[in-house]
Symmetry: D2
Subunit: 156 residues, 4 copies
């Protein structure tokens, strides 16, 4: 087995395992995702649904949060595994969140439970013409301009 | 009937009517909301669910979008009407979005279909210690600092 | 001028006008959008940002909410106009929300302020392999299963 | 030092450390959060902003995702630490997501960088009258009803 397929298989297995920890009481549809950081580490997560549907966080975004929290800023491969007979496809929101940390050539592997129906598509094919927000100054400078950014509160 | 109760009733009726236009195929739970602008105009909206649950927009936020799109920046009363026997209560996300345009004394009326079980709570009671993002400079100045904010794109 | 270009121009003008009502104090980046319903009506909206960035609603979604609230379930064309020199491109989240009501052939017109740099891309090109949530039963049936869907509350 | 304050301090330290890994190039406002699971384990995360502001995930939600992904379904304490001189207060969306896994008595500790200005409020005080979605059947049964929930796709 090649090194490439070895990494891919480990990523799909991590996504499949993360699926089992998903919190999906409202849809009954569990999804797991795993991302490969540019430094070789893997991070995974499942979907976390909410009573207010709009606050649901998909598996892909959950995995991205785990990676970012560990200092990752570059993702080089993604795997998504979902319940049901058909291989999943990431929603538009997740494609956008992945694009914050991954490039158009990044492979996105998708499969059904157990890794069945494995398929690969590049992120650039899933989300062409990606939206980016670019100001005239670098992020660090932009941040410093907020001299006193803070959360304040007004009592009830 | 007092002028106050007249306005309240009109707001609740608008929310109840908006409920019927909700797009809620995933939850089967339709909600309508209406907001009263400080200039006396009313705006309403229903929940707009999405196949990707996390992209669902609640009725309250839908109504706020309608108001803001018409130039409103100050909301002075809110009504929410939902399917089901129990009067609804806004989710935390909607409370936060309402707080962007309304103050702690703003009344939030809730009722079941047809206006049954009408109840009122102040926004400040629903969302005390509200989160605000405040930079050291006024929004207009902050905006001008983004000399060249734009959406760019990278081809696929 | 053909009827097609006439409709297109009206849609772009509506999006451009909606841009001016955007609430974008955090990014300073105003966007307006307009959607053409299958029955010929037009609906528009601007982005509605929030102190909690994650609660921001893009212009495209704001316009969709307006249409859905008026009973629309089928969108046949979209226009998006944004501040800045470069024509915008919808984010992944908005593409997904548009796909809830529009098909892959739906034209998405984008332009800079004043309609400059007008460009068209099909929704199917912007969001190929779209995610859909399909249960084994039709939505109406699924809804009826929630015998008693409701918002409940626990006092503080 | 009591065992309680020891746990609290560890939670605040974890949140403060997670703050340093936040991805906040758009706001320049880094936040870290940590949650204590009912089994004693701690999980943390930072905010993960996105070019499309509406896809931003707050620190609190990032930490919840980490906990849920590890099998946690019950959170017994929360800590949030943010940049800036004033202690933060969770946004409404995060309060709602916390309420999915925590009860009204759950303490939410907030502090500025380094743990300064430590303060505690109960979740039930931050989000009274919490929204819940309750169907007539238990989640497991609801899930099984979706005989064939799946993501499908239509080619571009």
């Amino acid at each position: 087995m090649s090194r490439l397929s070895s990494v891919r298989d480990a990523l799909v297995r991590a996504a499949d395992a993360a699926r089992l920890a998903a919190h999906a009481p409202y849809s009954g549809y569990r999804v797991g995702a795993a991302v490969l950081a540019s430094d070789g580490r893997m991070f995974s997560g499942g979907n976390v649904e909410n009573a207010s549907f709009g606050l649901t966080i998909c598996a892909e975004r959950s995995a991205v949060c785990a990676a970012v929290g560990a200092g990752v800023r570059r993702i080089s491969a993604v795997a998504v595994v979902a319940d049901g007979p058909a291989p999943p496809t990431p929603c538009g929101a997740c494609r956008q969140v992945l694009a914050e940390f991954a490039g158009p050539a990044t492979p996105v592997w998708t499969a059904s439970a157990g890794g069945r129906g494995l398929r690969c598509r590049r992120l650039g094919r899933l989300l062409p013409f990606v939206f980016r927000f670019i100001s005239a100054s670098p992020p660090a400078a932009a941040a410093s301009r907020h001299v006193c950014p803070r959360r304040t509160q007004s009592g009830s």
